[in-house]
């Protein structure tokens, strides 16, 4: 694909059109497949247009945090694998990967999606750790929203392994991961004066800034992050939040 | 001494109208705002801010003081106290014919040499071309170099050179002021010159400065002479 110039994207936008024919507020087609990784306790493969994200959940025995001895732990990690984008380099997570992981973490944690009180094995000593690992396979833009969909889908697919005689028995299960709510992340990109939803990778490059909002089923806001430089007019903020809340219902219906 | 109005980034300065705007202000919808911390300078025809700090922004025609950094086959790379490279091409640095294959260019300017040059041209991508071909431009030997905030240079030079002429005359010391914030001083009363420059630097936003510096230089001389007399007596 040949990179388009900024002028071309702007020209299309003035006519309220996008490069792939979408309307300004349309998401690309979303496909979700769960249970795709045999050795993971939960997994999901998400396709958002051509963006492909694989999320695997591993349940591991962990020690609880000292100030929360009666709760399981959640760790989210994101790997922007070099296979996904000619500009990704091998090595430890960079800024983007770190930000993505932390935002998906906040979405899951602040929405209280996982009932971590049910993940205690021995109070103060042993709990279940829910390890959410996001693996980007193909980056055609909006990795954050795709990763969030993948994480939520994978968590709903997750089973807790049997734990007997101080050992985890992989392949045998003691029940589903206790989850409730389906929080969704909606990303809006500002190009010129207009906002578009679900930017693809070329639109992301041209955008002056992005606003990502995490919404729970009851319309409560769990996470907000303005991403990238550029500015958002204060007067635009309320409209953007309304848009995110409205759109989140659509995405949630697919989970 | 009265104070001129200090403005800050984002401060509203007035309507643009037909006025020309300087490089330290910006306008949005006919409203003019300051980009930097500085002194407002406006008239019927123009509006700008004189910054109180910031790096040297090279301009064509500026006379500056540089230090030779590198010798290349076609000329010299010069450090002019800017993030951008400056280059003195062979033809602009030397008045005679030079056989580049047989001549060691360091015989003209060596690494570390101090040179008084002018900015001949600023090319695209901010590559700066220098020249020594103008009145007064030359290699500067001995003396000392100091660096000051480039935005204070106009005050140190003064209107029509009045401030620097007065300093040179009252201290009987040779001083060359580079627009890029580098100053070369050579003579007996270097310390007096340094003190005067330091004073101008901190008081650059006040008016009536020339008189104040003049008074300072006179009293400084008296002080020094006073001490001198005592020594002689002893």
């Amino acid at each position: 694909m040949i990179p388009m110039s900024e002028e071309y994207v702007l020209k299309l936008l003035r006519q309220n059109k996008r490069m792939d024919g979408r309307n300004l507020l349309d998401y690309r087609e979303i496909k979700i497949e769960t249970g795709v990784i045999p050795k993971a306790e939960g997994s999901a493969l998400v396709q958002l247009g051509n963006t492909k994200v694989l999320v695997g959940i591993k349940m591991e025995i962990a020690t609880p945090f000292p100030d929360m001895p009666d709760e399981g732990i959640l760790i989210v990690n994101a790997e922007f694998a070099p296979i996904a984008n000619p500009e990704f380099e091998p090595g430890p997570p960079g800024e983007e990967a770190t930000e993505t992981a932390r935002l998906v973490d906040r979405l899951i944690r602040e929405s209280k999606m996982i009932d971590t009180s049910k993940l205690v094995i021995q109070e103060g000593e042993k709990v279940w750790g829910v390890f959410v690992d996001i693996h980007i396979l193909n980056d055609e833009g909006n990795l954050l929203d795709a990763s969030a969909i993948g994480a939520v889908a994978a968590l709903y697919n997750t089973k807790i392994p049997k734990y007997e005689n101080d050992e985890v028995i992989r392949g045998e299960y003691a029940g589903n991961l206790p989850v409730r709510y389906k929080p969704v992340m909606i990303t809006m990109a500002k190009i010129g004066d207009k906002y578009i939803l679900d930017p693809n990778y070329l639109e992301e490059e041209v955008a002056s800034t992005k606003l990502s909002v995490g919404i729970r089923d009851d319309d409560v806001i769990c996470a907000v992050q303005k991403r990238g430089s550029g500015t958002i007019k204060f007067s635009e903020l309320e409209g953007l939040i309304d848009l995110a809340i409205q759109k989140s219902k659509e995405i949630r219906s697919l989970l | 001494m009265s104070e001129k109005k200090i403005v800050v980034p984002g401060e509203y300065l007035g309507l643009k109208g037909d006025r020309k705007t300087g490089s330290n202000v910006y306008s949005e919808e006919d409203k003019v705002y300051s980009k930097k911390v500085g002194l407002l300078r406006e008239s019927e025809n123009s509006i700008d801010v004189v910054p109180l700090s910031g790096i040297y922004i090279p301009r064509k025609g500026d006379k500056i003081i540089g230090i030779i950094k590198e010798i290349q086959p076609s000329g010299w790379v010069v450090d002019i106290n800017s993030p951008y490279q400056a280059f003195l091409p062979l033809a602009e640095g030397v008045n005679e014919f030079v056989d580049v294959f047989r001549t060691d260019l360091s015989k003209y300017y060596d690494i570390g040499d101090v040179v008084y040059l002018k900015i001949l041209n600023i090319m695209k991508k901010k590559i700066i071309q220098l020249s020594i071909k103008d009145a007064g431009l030359r290699k500067l030997e001995d003396g000392i170099l100091i660096k000051v905030t480039p935005t204070k240079i106009p005050r140190i030079i003064g209107r029509g050179g009045s401030m620097i002429s007065m300093i040179k005359q009252k201290t009987k010391t040779n001083v060359i002021v580079g627009k890029n914030g580098i100053i070369w001083i050579k003579g007996r009363n270097t310390d007096k010159v340094l003190k005067a420059i330091e004073l101008i630097e901190v008081k650059s936003h006040l008016s009536g400065l020339t008189e104040k510096i003049s008074e300072f230089l006179d009293s400084y001389s008296q002080q020094k002479e006073g001490r001198g007399e005592k020594n002689e007596e002893a």
């Binding site: 709760e71 958002i232 007067s235 939040i241 | 930097k36 993030p83 905030t149 004073l199």
Partner: protein, 245 residues
């Protein structure tokens, strides 16, 4: 973090644990020009949170073989000193510092006239020397002052503060305990004279109405924070003008 059983962040009269009202910030102190080696520097304190910022540049970008850039590159580093927190913080970067450095950098990029210095860099270093909540916002206020002192051209100063929900009530400028034990926290920064947002992060649980009410209060507070920055800058130049008298 989990709030200890029975611990109250706000009492029945709307007073917080440090005696403040819900809409009050902690005492704010600002100082500029304290680091002689930096091109611009500032120290800002919100209660017990203290940040020091230093700006170097615009200066040459090395290595020179970096791809052609038409704009100035801003490099930021947000770092917490090991002694700044209750339990010693291990020196070095962690994921949190990386994310914070990134959002702070974007806030600065939004106001600096980057196109005036192609192929150059401006380094903005922020050190948290004492930490009690709202560190990134304190750091950003310090960075704004340091950039102004360094003569970096900007559209406006950046004013920043936090807010959140504690014990069910909306509050401004969260201290450490309020940040850890509250129901939601928001970090916010804007260009006050333009009313444009340059930094916005939130986590917790807030309805849309709560979010907008809180943000409107925070935007108001940012206007006052900018006024303080302006006063600090102007008084600094008045003071040094008189020093060598």
């Amino acid at each position: 973090m989990k709030k200890p059983e029975g611990f109250k962040l706000v009492d029945g009269k709307g007073k917080r644990i440090d005696g403040r009202g819900l809409d009050e910030t902690r005492p704010i102190r600002m100082e500029v020009g304290l680091l002689s080696r930096a091109d611009g520097s500032a120290k800002v304190g919100f209660g017990n949170t203290v940040a020091v910022a230093a700006v170097f540049g615009p200066r040459a970008l090395f290595p020179r073989h970096l791809q052609e850039v038409e704009e100035c590159i801003i490099r930021t580093r947000y770092n917490m000193a090991p002694f700044s927190t209750e339990s010693r913080k291990s020196p070095g970067t962690d994921r949190r510092s990386i994310e914070i450095s990134k959002v702070l950098r974007h806030a600065i990029e939004a106001t600096v006239f980057l196109e005036e210095f192609p192929r150059a860099t401006i380094d903005v270093y922020m050190e948290i020397i004492s930490s009690d909540g709202s560190t990134r916002c304190t750091a950003l206020n310090a960075a704004s002052l340091a950039l102004a002192l360094a003569g970096v051209p900007m559209r406006d100063l950046i004013a920043s503060c936090t807010g959140g929900k504690i014990d069910g009530k909306l509050a401004i400028d969260l201290n450490g305990k309020e940040d850890n034990y509250g129901e939601a926290d928001v970090a916010f920064a804007m260009l006050p004279t333009k009313r444009e947002i340059v930094l916005l992060q939130m986590d917790g649980e807030l309805t849309k109405e709560e979010f907008m009410t809180l943000l409107t209060k925070m935007a108001d507070k940012c206007n006052k924070i900018r006024d303080m920055q302006v006063k600090t800058i102007k008084e600094y130049y008045k003071k040094i003008g008189g020093e060598l008298e």
